[in-house]
Amino acid sequence: MQLTGSLFTDTNAHYGNDISTFPNFPAEIRAPQGTVAGVSGFKLHFASVDIFTPGDEVEVLVAMNAAALKANVSQLKKGGTIIANTAGFDKKNLRLAKYESDVSPLLDKTLDQFRVVEIDVTKMTKEALANSGLGTKDIDRCKNMFVLGFLLWMYNRSMETTQSFITEKFSKKPDIKDANLTVLKAGYYFGDTNETFTSRYEVESANLPSGEYRSIMGNQAAALGAIVAANKAGLELFYGSYPITPASDILHELARHKNYGVKTFQAEDEIAAICASIGASFGGSLGMTASSGPGIALKGEAMGLAVMLEIPLLIINVQRGGPSTGLPTKTEQSDLMQAMYGRNGEAPLVIVSASHPSDCFDAMVEAVRITVEHMIPAMFMSDGFIANGSEPWSFPKAADISSITPRWADPEKSLSDETYFPFRRNEKLVREWAIPGMENLQHRVGGLEKENETGNVSYDPDNHELMVKIRQEKVDLIANHIPAQEIAQGDESGSVLVLGWGSTYGAIRTAVRDLIKDGHKVSQAHVRYLNPFPKNLEELMSKFDRVLIPEINNGQLVHLINAKYGTGAVPFNKIQGMPFTSREIKEQIKELI
């Protein structure tokens, strides 16, 4: 076990500071304290370079059995990762570790605040060496290499250092050498095959403002936000989804909360998932669906239908590296154009993005508010980095979240007054929502172009142009109902404004903070509302000599900003499936100052 640890350390030292904000682990390895005698285990402590964490908090705990978990879990930081060898959690091990009940801590709720990765390391190692000819004892000794391989994958490290070490150390025992190499690779590939997400948002836990905190992951925050927002709107939440990395955890989280009236539906495919959600919305629920880029592509036609129907529908895109299957376990911000334009015809919808794990909660509530109150589909954008990342969250009280008001049609009024026109609108261009069960408001909606007000099928050329303009204007008018863009850090004017969106928030924040400290006239603004943009965005940008837009893509927000406002904003792009480091951003800003 000590050997495994030092190999991992060597590998990380080899990488040095080249990869910095990304949790970088000059690691401290030590023997477990207070473990049950005779049961081995080890723990790793990772401290990141950019963000300081107190030296005795553990980031990742590898627990080969229940005893190792029991002895060390108290030192694991909230939101930390536990890699648990499930074979070490059988009844015998639970008894040895003196767990009171027979229920494994992996199954009850005691590990809720951590990210638990369960792997049957013992079995995997045996399988990997089934044809090695080695005895049980020798095979068992290799299982640590499986964990090491898995860790190397998780933290994006090469196997090279370890491979050459093994080759050298066991040069005189070729069968042991081969076995160790085989198992190392097996662990590495296990991470790959199981789409274990590798980049995670981390944030300092020191120097937090006073208050009550919990630890929360991005996907979890999005799920909680959805439940709370649906409740605030007085709507039942219907969540239609098809499994995909890295969005599935939202489905898992929601499925745990059926006592909140949440209906989760694991559909047969991405298209069915969104269509079922549209059906639920037509029936008066808050229809919601989620995916990542490839699945969002499949949902495109149905999104267009929702634009035509003008009903609430929340689409979640937890972005990953693309195109096509791309890099499922790596993060990217490359679906912004897809969100803006990825449908046939003129089909604008609302786009709201989250910038750090707990922000997924607030951004979700906002997205739901808009889709419900404006009767228009909205897309909530997150990405793998923040979806799987966790941070301390000074959580709100439910009572402090304002209510959301659907614009219901009134059957009474329709009976006394006149025929119900499903596409008659108010000053926000929002139509009234009539749902089955409402007396006398029977109406038909569909994907064919409809006549203004009546909603009847219409092929009239002028009407089509009118409807296209109305659907666009409806989005534009939402700018009157969202907060003005704020400067997150720095003065309202100056040399460089760093404008970001989504998960680049943390890295930009650190970079700008440091440069302000050094006396530079640099400011940060982070855009949550991407369609429509806040009304004051153009003016806000105009107060700076230069605008820098860092993105984990080939330049998408910068394209939208420059096309709309002619700002001449400067792109800064990284497309490696990894987040920016603050140092990279800092250096880029310096070039512009």
């Binding site: 605040q113 219907f238 006592n259 269509c275 059906g279 009976l415 749902i435 009847n456």
Partner: protein
Amino acid sequence: MQNPTTYTAKDFATDQDVRWCPGCGDYSILKQMQSTMAEAGINKKDIVFVSGIGCSSRFPYYMDTYGIHSIHGRATAMASGLKAARPDLSVWVITGDGDSLSIGGNHLIHLLRRNFDLNVLLFNNEIYGLTKGQYSPTSPKGQVTKSTPMGSLDHPFNPQALALGADATFVARTMDRDPKHMREILAAGNAHKGTSLIEIYQNCNVFNDGAFEVFTDKATKAKSTITIREGEPMIYGADSEFGIRLNGMKAEVVSMNDCSADDLWIHDSSDRMKATILSRMFDNNALEGGLPRPFGILYQEDRFRYEDAMKAQLEHAISVKGDGDLDALIQGSHTWTVD
């Protein structure tokens, strides 16, 4: 508000002009549907018609109920979500052979296995009509169409066998030219608790005229069709001169001159194996002494509905954990205070 018990078929008509080609089989289906709904006495406010894309999918515009004309192949998925959200509604899916068996094939089979309590009217005309005459997944092999000038190479789907294969709980066949039978089947489908798959042979008189003529023409109908009824022996023919007997797992045509009704296969729609045999009576060779095409309810069973099970889970979760408290949810199980 009108009392649903006083509805007539006319109460279900809308102010929209019906736009199908003159002579289309769809008119008959619309008429029987309106009559069936009037007889069912369900309040119009509680009925939803959901369609995909294709000629038949214009249907919801002509029913004065709630309706969604959705996208190609997805009506079944849309209806699944609607029924999950609103188990109280009477939901009808209107789809065609291309819509449900080609582009929407996946959603159809998953709907059938989940067994939402809703009704699927599969208008089968063995052709793509809206796109002007390409062969469909039910067109017979060798059919010459615009996209198959040398004849189609596809082996066709057998919708009844497909539905049985997907574990549908109500599988029936009827035809546009037999309004009385259609109303009977529509009413039975409506009464069935679970997904009712009702295949309706529907003549496209523009692009595939006469596809089902052998089953509708007076000269051939009696010999090439059999109307199956629960508990009744399988007898058919203009003068009830033919019967069907089961010889082991094999169905065979017998002459009633040689047999009595007691020797015949008695229709039992709860028997899945026999339903499979009925679904495979699909060879189109009745005029040459082969088996006739069965019309009626081939199979029916009572199985749990997805929406009921979903509701039960929610109720169970509430009984165990209590009604969800938002603050408890937001707070989670572990918190700490920073001073």
